[in-house]
């Protein structure tokens, strides 16, 4: 078995009696006080997540001449300095190798933030699409990432690190000094709340973690609550809702794909666009507190039409919610579905995303 990786904060999590479990090859905290309590804390206060497992690559050079412009489904050259953009790295069939965020650090400098389980493959694929000799480095091991998410996150960070952080708009970032070292503070996240992702050198992350937790408005939160939070706002989870056999069109994420530019997978997407996707992602709401779960089967009028890729009990809605892929004819809003697994059955209805729109994300 491959050795399990751990973040620099492992001992801190164990000290807080976190329940630890494998995630994408990493031993990560799933919960501390409890998943629902941490979810609530994030929706009302400021929750702190150890996200050091995610990967970061640095590119230095000429974005167009070195080939980076054609690597992703969006234009990198078109991202203004100080802004970031979400999109995809695709294979030739249009399947999602990863979903990621690109940060434009400078005219000739870019940071690419990728999922933990896909770091090695993403790096190899991106490298292979760049001009030989292009300067791309995997800085994942030396780079730490903490997410502070929740309506109070801005005042916490402004109090600790100064007013500039309070001025960052959604999907913009600043480079600043934190604890005396260069850090990136980005107004992005995965919870639907006002929040920040902080990138800094790995050897400083324990100090930052301890400092943030001294604030009574801040509590640690694990990947369990993070999954609930992201599902309530309809964000996809790579490996569950997105994978190499799924295109951004099927996933309803074509707004992150610019078909007016070149990228690997474009031909396949154009074909799929013409023919219409064979299955499409839908969101559904269950009529009870039962939770749909990954791989549960979905039926319409007695016929199988797809399966669940993500599901949970939503504390904000008080019922089960989920995402899944269905035949397009079963995907219309209001379609009644039956979700089944062994002796468990639940009725559900196709609804619009997000499930929960009351977050502080853009406040």
């Amino acid at each position: 078995m491959e050795e399990m990786k751990a973040t620099p904060l492992r001992a801190h999590h164990e000290g807080l009696k976190a329940l630890m479990a494998p995630f994408g090859g990493w031993l990560m905290p799933i919960q501390y006080a409890g998943i629902i309590a941490e979810h609530k804390w994030c929706r009302e206060q400021a929750a702190l997540f150890d996200i050091c497992h995610m990967g970061e690559f640095l590119f230095q050079g000429d974005i167009v001449a070195d080939g980076l412009e054609d690597v992703f489904t969006f234009s990198v050259q078109g991202i203004p300095v100080g802004r970031s953009r979400y999109g995809f790295l695709l294979n030739a069939s249009g399947g999602v190798i990863d979903d990621l965020i690109v940060f434009r650090l400078a005219e000739d400098r870019v940071m690419i933030v990728v999922n933990a389980a896909t770091i090695a493959n993403d790096f190899a694929v991106i490298r292979s699409r760049l001009k030989e000799g292009a300067n791309l480095t995997n800085v994942s091991d030396g780079t730490a990432k903490l997410d502070l998410q929740g309506p109070l996150s801005r005042e916490v960070l402004v109090g600790l690190f100064g007013a500039e952080i309070g001025t960052i708009p959604f999907f913009k970032f600043i480079t600043t000094k934190i604890l005396g070292v260069d850090a990136i503070v980005s107004r992005t996240g995965y919870t639907g709340e006002l929040g920040y992702e902080i990138f800094l050198p790995a050897d400083k992350v324990c100090e930052l973690w301890e400092l943030l937790l001294k604030d009574p408005r801040v509590a640690p939160a694990g990947l369990g609550s993070r999954d609930l939070l992201r599902l309530e706002v309809g964000y996809s989870l790579y490996g569950s809702d997105l994978d190499e056999a799924t295109t951004p069109l099927a996933a309803g994420l074509s707004s992150f794909v610019n078909l007016g530019k070149e990228f690997v997978g474009k031909e396949a997407l154009l074909k799929e666009q013409q023919a219409g996707p064979a299955r499409v992602k839908v969101a559904f709401r269950v009529n009870s507190r039962r939770a749909p779960r990954h791989h549960y089967e979905i039926f319409q009028d007695g016929a199988p039409v797809g399966s669940v890729t993500s599901g949970a009990f939503s504390p904000m809605l008080g019922c089960g919610i989920g995402l899944g892929y269905l035949k397009p004819e079963a995907a219309a809003l209001g379609t009644k579905l039956l979700i089944k697994h062994e002796r468990v059955e639940m009725e559900a209805e196709v609804v619009e995303l997000p499930f929960y729109a009351g977050g502080s994300l853009r406040s």
């Binding site: 629902i36 507190r289 039962r290 939770a291 009990f313 697994h341 002796r343 468990v344």
Partner: protein, 124 residues
Amino acid sequence: MSMYFTKEHEWVKVDGNQATVGISEHAAHELGDITFVELPQMGKVVKQFETLAGIESVKAASDIYSPVSGKVVQVNDKLEDAPELVNESAQDAGWICKLETADLAELGALMDVAAYAEYLKGLE
């Protein structure tokens, strides 16, 4: 009144011919935040160790097996809106249902409090 436990972590307390059933504190803790309890139908007749009810937490969905044979005569309908009662008080206010039961000899196939404590140690 003594409490008896199954290997699947249900408990039962018998008073005359009435058996109150729930899941153990250990099980509630392992499941994490409980979000849904599927209460049995009133009048449902079950045999010992058959599926009686269901329970879901943020982490998993599980079946609840009946510690004794009997007929469901009461369900804890507070759990419909407040399944977290099972986390707060698994072995008391978080009871699941009551069965009318006849065969007290079935308790011999269960563990008493001390034996269950031993059993949990073995699972660590």
